[in-house]
């Protein structure tokens, strides 16, 4: 049973408190800067994007959803990657965005862009209000509390039928557009989403390498250390949480406008699982990781769609292989190419 190489090795080094309390920041930051490999990854994604754009068909939709989820993940990465906190409930804010957009457009006739912004504001305030007490929790308890937020929001969106129409769902949500110009064409939608995602990434990159971003990353590895240097931990955690909520809300709104229909399931547990997958497959804590993860994890099921009834099995297996062989995400694979490679690999 025991291969001595695997059994020994530096694999033991981390203690539990390392693993639970501080999320992944250790891996993250050193790979975070958009270096050569980042550029390589970006080029690859751009090629994939170009391929899908030219090929057309339903992969356009796959890519659209990837961009939307990607935006969600870039936001989540602020909280989980940079700041090292766990949130299983960011879908709550996506729901606020989605339903906000739907209701504001359909009931109150707001133009989509305005609806999106107003919904983001609502989500931001909501994040502020619930985050303030909740973020005192740590580790699994924070994970659970945020998880509860997501579940509560889900149930409310199911039950509050007068507002949300429950499982019936909200249909007839207008597409994005400015004034009389609606973005109707699938390719145009994709380009628009891509631009929005790039903007989101640009923000992420700017914030990461700044006083603000450094404070977040400091918190992720040592809260006492950060506090001793005068960083107001609750405030920074809250800021990261709110930023994540703003991204999530924008993603939720975009889903509503791009698909034209939402129902509670759109923002259900599935969303949590999918976005987690994206974050970890891409590489949490890195700038590009969330976007890479979103594209890869979105295309993966389509690649294995041909297996028919075995699609989920194939998907789960590929996912497991990815997680086992690139446990720190695809963008961390790039670390191999950097000098002073970070992590010793057992047996290598």
């Amino acid at each position: 049973m025991s291969s001595p190489r695997a059994a020994s090795g530096p694999s033991f080094r981390r203690t539990r408190s390392d693993r639970t309390m501080t999320l992944p920041a250790t891996i993250s930051t050193r790979l975070g800067r958009v270096g050569w490999v980042g550029i390589g990854a970006a080029v690859l994604i751009a090629l994939l994007f170009g391929f899908v754009f030219l090929r057309g068909g339903y992969l356009l939709t796959v890519m659209q959803l990837a961009m939307i989820y990607g935006l969600f993940c870039v936001g989540l990465n602020f909280f989980m990657g940079y700041t090292g906190q766990a949130s299983f409930g960011q879908n709550a804010f996506a729901a606020i965005g989605g339903y906000g957009s739907a209701i504001l457009c359909v009931q109150y006739g707001l133009p989509p862009i305005l609806a999106l912004v107003v919904a983001m504001a609502i989500a931001g305030v909501a994040a502020l209000v619930v985050g303030w007490p909740t973020l005192r929790l740590r580790g699994h308890y924070l994970a659970m509390a945020t998880f509860a937020l997501g579940l509560i929001t889900y149930d409310v969106s199911v039950q509050w039928e007068s507002l949300t129409k429950g499982y019936m769902g909200y249909a007839g949500i207008p597409p994005l557009g400015i004034g009389p110009y609606e973005i109707d064409d699938e390719r145009a939608k994709l380009v628009c989403l891509m631009v929005i995602l790039l903007f989101g990434l640009w923000i992420s990159n700017r914030l990461r390498d700044s006083r603000f971003g450094r404070a977040l990353r400091a918190i992720s590895t040592s809260e006492p250390g950060a506090a001793a240097l005068g960083i107001r931990i609750p405030r920074y955690k809250l800021a990261a949480f709110v930023i994540a909520a703003l991204y999530a809300s924008a993603a939720g709104s975009l889903f509503a406008h791009v698909v034209g229909f939402i129902s509670p399931e759109v923002f259900g547990l599935q969303m949590v699982v999918v976005t987690f997958t994206m974050l970890y497959v891409g590489g949490i804590g890195t700038v590009l990781g969330p976007a890479i993860g979103a594209v890869v994890a979105s295309l993966l099921p389509e690649v294995v769609r041909g297996t028919g009834r075995f699609q989920d099995i194939a998907y789960a297996l590929v996912l497991l292989v990815l997680l086992v062989y690139a446990p720190k995400g695809l963008s961390a694979l790039s670390g191999l190419g950097r000098p002073r490679a970070a992590t010793p690999q057992a047996g290598s």
Binding site: G57, A171, F261, E265, Q270
Partner: protein, 366 residues
């Protein structure tokens, strides 16, 4: 080769909460395709069924609908019961002018309803047949409702509350549950405490087994459980727990599977036989027909509309479909028209129960 086949798409919840229902819907579709192709296909071409799993969630439904439209170039849809998934896709299917046959309820937008045809009996029928049973066969006059919040369930609850008076019944408790709940004892206890003699359960799926178990373990041995339409496996499993105190509306074909004589109308019996014979040949004894029979009907009617339209072009097929007029199917009689896109207009249900592991019609009340 693409021109030699006519592709029909189907978005099905093969995993997730719709899995059992949609699995049967697929069986019906596949059977119909085989039968049609055996007779030479439609418009001289072979039919081909393309189906994808939407995992019972709308996001996936959007993807698979698009996939079938753009990759497979299907000319029409015949999709399963995941209402939200069908709603999510309805807008762009409508824009592409493709007709969609549905196992679920119709989308809510008027322009989308023009392209969708529902083969689901309207919720009122399910309610009324149970109320009628209570009124005529029992002396129970107080009932409690236990329902889930699915689209179909919500509609049904509305009727359950509205129609009770009509049948001289009083709804004394109005409880709800969620599909995945593991226990309903509290709700059932409240219904019992309110003095109800029967529970009107609203909602498909596995939950009925737990409800039956809960009634039993609460020792309520007078309480009747009147469940929703359901899959044969679930009916039998729940019936095993509560015996003849579990009653449910069933399309007659579901009960008549071993004894077609139960279907009195000869035309309907012939339609049922045409369906059941190949079904039994293919799937043996363990079969469910409540979903698959309507799936079969839907595809045969779609084929008929194509033949009538002499094309597979969406608008023509849709118009032809609206002109089919009264149609006696295996699962029910239908009457679609330009103004009527919910095809089942007469209550197709009988009240049945489980007897020795088989479904039986309740003739005498108990």
């Amino acid at each position: 080769a693409a021109q030699d086949t006519i592709k029909i798409g189907s978005s099905l919840g093969l995993t997730g909460y719709g899995s059992i229902t949609d699995g049967h819907w697929r069986e019906g579709l596949e059977l119909a395709v085989e039968a049609l192709n055996a007779k030479g296909g439609v418009l001289g071409k072979k039919l081909q069924l393309v189906h994808e799993d939407n995992k019972s969630i709308p996001q996936q439904a959007v993807l698979v609908y698009r996939k079938m439209m753009t990759e497979d170039k299907v000319v029409a849809f015949d999709s399963g019961c995941i209402s939200a998934g069908n709603f999510a896709a309805a807008s762009f299917v409508t824009r592409a002018k493709l007709p969609m046959m549905l196992c679920s309820i119709l989308p809510q937008q008027p322009e989308e309803q023009k392209w969708a045809f529902s083969f689901l009996p309207p919720p009122k029928f399910e309610v009324d047949s149970r109320y009628e049973f209570l009124k005529s066969k029992t002396d129970i006059r107080k009932v409690g409702i236990l329902g889930d919040p699915s689209p179909y369930g919500s509609l049904m609850r509305k009727f359950a509350l509205e129609d009770a008076k009509e049948f001289g019944l009083e709804v004394v408790a109005n409880e709800s549950y969620q599909q995945e709940d593991a226990d309903f004892s509290v709700q059932i206890g409240r219904i019992n405490a309110a003095g109800a003699g029967a529970i009107i359960m609203i909602g498909q799926g596995n939950a009925v087994i737990t409800v039956a178990k809960n009634i039993k373990s609460l020792g309520l041995d007078k309480m009747l459980l009147l469940g929703s339409v359901n899959e044969r496996d679930l009916l039998v499993e729940a019936g095993r727990v509560l015996g003849d105190r579990y009653l449910f509306p069933s399309p007659i074909i579901q009960v008549a599977i071993d004894d077609l004589a139960l279907i009195t109308d000869p035309k309907a019996r012939a339609a049922a036989e045409a369906f059941i014979t190949p079904l039994k040949a293919k799937h043996g004894g363990k079969i469910d027909t409540s979903m698959s029979s309507r799936a079969w009907d839907s595809l045969l009617m779609l084929a008929q509309a194509m033949e009538a339209a002499k094309t597979t072009e969406g608008t023509a097929v849709r118009d032809a479909f609206e002109k089919i007029g009264p149609y006696v199917g295996a699962g029910a009689p239908y009457e679609f028209s330009p103004t009527q896109h919910v095809g089942i207009t007469k209550n197709p249900y009988v009240i049945a129960y489980v007897k020795d592991g088989k479904l039986a019609i309740n003739h005498d009340g108990r």
